[in-house]
Amino acid sequence: MPGSQAGQSPFKESEHGVPVGLRLPGVSLSHDGRPLFTGLDVRIEAGVTTCILGASGVGKSSLLRILAGLIAADNGVEAVGDHGAPLTGQCAYMDQRDSLLPWLDVLANVSLGNRLRRRPLNQERARKLLAEVGLAGRERDLPQTLSGGMRQRTALARTLMEDKPIVLMDEPFASVDSITRHRLQALSARLLTGRTVVLVTHDPLEALRLGHRIHVMSGHPATLDTALSPPGLPPRDPTDDALRQSYGELLARLAQESTNGAGQ
């Protein structure tokens, strides 16, 4: 189990090992009797960031929650790794709620996973990660004394502390202001390099900034289109010309999908 031998080398950047891709073959889910997706095939490439872009209510969060094992698909399909092995315990999950526990200080929040698994807390690594996200010196503060951006950075440090090969993010920066979001995107792109990241978002710019691969999810029941791979490496500069071109293409795809959806 990668990452579980905490304490053996606290200063190594990462212990997650070889990147793992994942598959979700033919997954079906309905909500209130309305199918969100039926027989949807999902393939996520190892070691890169895949963004799933879609309108609210299309089922992208539900898809991510199935990947995370938080909800079960109607047909019982579970996410498996490249080689067909189950992914249990290999995913870290982060969403727009920072979900910091108010009774634990920042440091204890970051090492929550080890606490829950009764592993050595490895606070050296937690401190190092907090320094990486710019929160050195705030280790002993309670979450309610932090700003929204700081809370989300703490959540990012906690996600990295998990040191899982797969990171699942559900609109992770949706609740912070745009400047903070811009900085957080750069920070997370840097810190998550080399991991398999699935990031769900409704913001085309965020997808373009962070995704190696971008899928548009749309329709009822929803489908995923073939991935768009914008040129350059994340985090991309939003003022870049190539990115603007991709933005146009992405908007065209989204618009096309929505007219298709309206026609049905």
Binding site: A68, G69, L70, G89, Y93, P102, R117, L142, L168
Partner: protein
């Protein structure tokens, strides 16, 4: 300091109103004694009142302790084990259908005239608010925290128990705190009712005794001491809860 002043003014206002009523209506002292008479009686019979106050305080504290322990235990049972929820929950509700006052004579019959029956009364009266509020807290854990903990413990043994211990119980402590505040304020009722129905000591017994002999001033003196005990208990519990949970926004709410 300001808060203390407010308390003092409220208290003085109440005493003044009481005195005014006594003077204006010319009511007989054995119906409503003046505050002065009550204070004089309190000083005169201090030994007697103090001795009974100790008895009542011990009953209240024991009841509070037992009720809290049993209440927390049953809330954890109902909150964590699904079968327990199905079987215990209806019983909890039904148990509240029996008024504690109606049970008092039976408890005295079973447990005797001394302290045990009063402690049982106090326990019974506070057990439900403690259970209900703690259970409420256990059920309302922030969904994001549970999701997070579930992904962190995926594939681990005893994951549910660990989430209970590290997430759901701490998250429920503010709710338990409000339950304990209610418990502190209502536990004296249980002890006093127990003493009324059958006892040989305690403030409830002293009041009943004084009432039968038309010593209304003594009754009021005992009542005053009882109120002081209840208030002291409430504020102690309140302070302890706030101190234990500095992170909880609830802590800012209660009486300052």
């Amino acid at each position: 300091m300001k808060a203390a002043l407010r308390w003092f003014i409220s208290f003085a206002g109440l005493v003044a109103a009481w005195w005014l009523v006594v003077i204006l209506t010319g009511v007989e002292p054995f119906i409503l004694p003046s505050p002065l008479l009550v204070v004089l009686k309190l000083i005169e019979r201090w030994d007697y009142i103090f001795e009974n106050a100790i008895t009542t305080t011990i009953e209240i504290l024991l009841g509070l302790l037992l009720g809290t322990v049993i209440g927390c235990f049953s809330a954890l049972m109902v909150g964590h084990f699904r079968p327990a929820r199905r079987w215990l929950m209806p019983m909890l509700v039904v148990s509240q259908a029996f008024p504690v006052f109606a049970l008092a004579p039976i408890l005295v019959l079973w447990l005797g005239y001394d302290m045990a029956s009063k402690v049982a009364m106090a326990t019974l009266i506070i057990f439900f608010p403690v259970t209900a509020s703690f259970l409420d807290g256990l059920r309302r854990t922030e969904p994001g925290w549970v999701d997070l903990a579930a992904t962190m413990t995926a594939g681990q043994s005893h994951a549910r128990l660990r989430i209970l211990w590290y997430i759901r119980i701490p998250a429920a402590l503010p709710a338990l705190g409000s339950g304990l505040r209610i418990a502190a304020a209502t536990a004296p009722i249980g002890a006093i009712v127990g003493e009324w129905v059958g006892g040989s000591g305690g403030l409830g017994f002293a009041m009943l005794h004084a009432n039968a002999r038309m010593q209304v001033d003594l009754m009021f003196a005992a009542l005053f001491v009882l109120a002081c005990i209840t208030l002291a208990l409430y504020f102690t519990v309140d302070a302890l809860v706030r101190r234990a949970l500095p992170w909880s926004p609830d802590s800012a709410l209660s009486v300052e």
